[in-house]
């Protein structure tokens, strides 16, 4: 057992480039000529990679792994794979216990989609209306004239904008809400397009 540990330690030092020239050559020859020894080397390689990912190597070993051991492309590939697996495992664990959080995500995404769809609705008429209403409150008939459409066409579009909370109606007068102004500003900033007459 002690011999195995010593051998593994020697291989580890070899993989981290910490052996003197003659020791290094000795290990290399054995790796090339002894299949069992080569298999042991592969196991030590896996251990170093696992310990590197989990951060259980000493500071010095961590440094040697980064600078020397991972200079070999195949080992970097292996490292990437292990990291991906670890991430997947931790995401899966989190997901198992996060049903309410996920419903929050679904619900937030749906709320945003409803809001944005109300702007796209009617070949982007919703966007045109909210941009007009940000300037000043208006009656439905005036809005219809401004965007060259009729009452029957504009009514469902306005209703959807009200439902999504970006505009409101008070005594026949339509106005842009704070939420509506904020969303419009966000879109303007992101797109570089300004909705001003």
């Amino acid at each position: 057992m002690e011999q195995v540990l010593e051998r593994e330690e020697l291989i580890k030092k070899y993989l981290l480039g910490e052996l003197a020239g003659d020791e290094q050559a000795e290990v290399e020859i054995r790796v090339l000529t002894d299949q069992g020894y080569f298999n042991e080397l592969l196991l030590v390689e896996d251990e170093i990679t696992d310990d590197f990912v989990s951060g259980t190597l000493s500071g010095h070993e961590q440094e040697r792994t980064r600078d020397y051991f991972l200079a070999v492309p195949e080992r970097r590939q292996k490292l990437k794979f292990i990291k991906a697996l670890e991430q997947y495992a931790s995401e899966s664990d989190a997901e198992d216990t996060a049903d309410t959080v996920n419903d929050d995500i679904l619900s937030e995404a749906q709320r945003n989609r409803v809001l944005l769809e109300s702007l796209i609705n009617g070949d982007w008429m919703g966007m045109h209306l909210i941009a007009l209403l940000r300037l000043s409150s208006q009656k439905k008939a005036d809005l219809a004239v401004a965007i060259r459409t009729d009452d029957a066409t504009i009514t469902p579009i306005l209703n959807r904008l009200i439902l999504s909370g970006v505009i409101e109606e008070y005594e026949g007068l339509f106005a842009c809400t704070e939420l509506g102004a904020r969303i419009l500003r966000k879109i303007e900033e992101a797109s570089g397009v300004e909705f001003t007459p």
């Binding site: 794979f81 991906a84 945003n112 909705f195």
Partner: protein, 170 residues
């Protein structure tokens, strides 16, 4: 710049938006259903010319995620879902519900757009959360055979693009 020109500029940005879209659904041996899936892909590509639209079976992530091919199938599909902005699922095949169930608990479930025939509206194949949050839409025969179903998909994609442009979770 007038409103109309501003809106046209925004529309052009949305159509040019760089999106990753997956289209899941029946395979090539399923005849008309595969043809519909192919048509959905084609129509998306016509309207969003910078979008990368793939069937799930065409997607190969081994280049950026070495070893993904060693994971089981649901795990691979979860990676696919995490890599896309929208995943359109044409639900015509038996077992689709089971497949989707793997992803409902994930933080990427909001990217699903499942299209199911209205005759299955009362079925409990898919979790109700997806229906409630409009991640599952039901279509009639007429909508399936006309352009309406595709139209609904395109509207959803416009919304996704506008949301991503504005930094909103959609």
């Amino acid at each position: 710049m007038g409103f109309e020109e501003a809106i046209n500029r925004l529309k052009r940005q949305i159509e040019a938006y760089d999106l990753n879209i997956l289209v899941w659904g029946p395979g090539v041996d399923s005849g008309e259903h595969f043809e519909k899936r192919r048509k959905i892909k084609q129509e998306i590509s016509n309207c969003f010319y910078n979008a990368d639209i793939r069937f799930s079976e065409e997607l190969d992530l081994t280049g950026i995620l070495p070893g993904i091919d060693q994971l089981d199938f649901p795990a691979q599909e979860l990676w696919h879902l995490s890599a896309c902005d929208l995943c359109v699922v044409l639900d015509t095949a038996k077992g689709a519900g089971e497949e989707i169930a793997h992803f409902v608990g994930s933080q990427h479930a909001h990217k699903l757009l499942i299209l199911t025939h209205e005759r299955y509206e009362s079925s409990t194949n898919f979790p109700t959360a997806l229906r409630k949050r409009q991640n599952q839409l039901f279509y009639s025969d007429e909508e399936y055979f006309t352009c309406n179903l595709v139209k609904q998909v395109l509207t959803r994609i416009k919304t996704i693009a506008l949301g991503k442009l504005s930094g909103m979770k959609v």
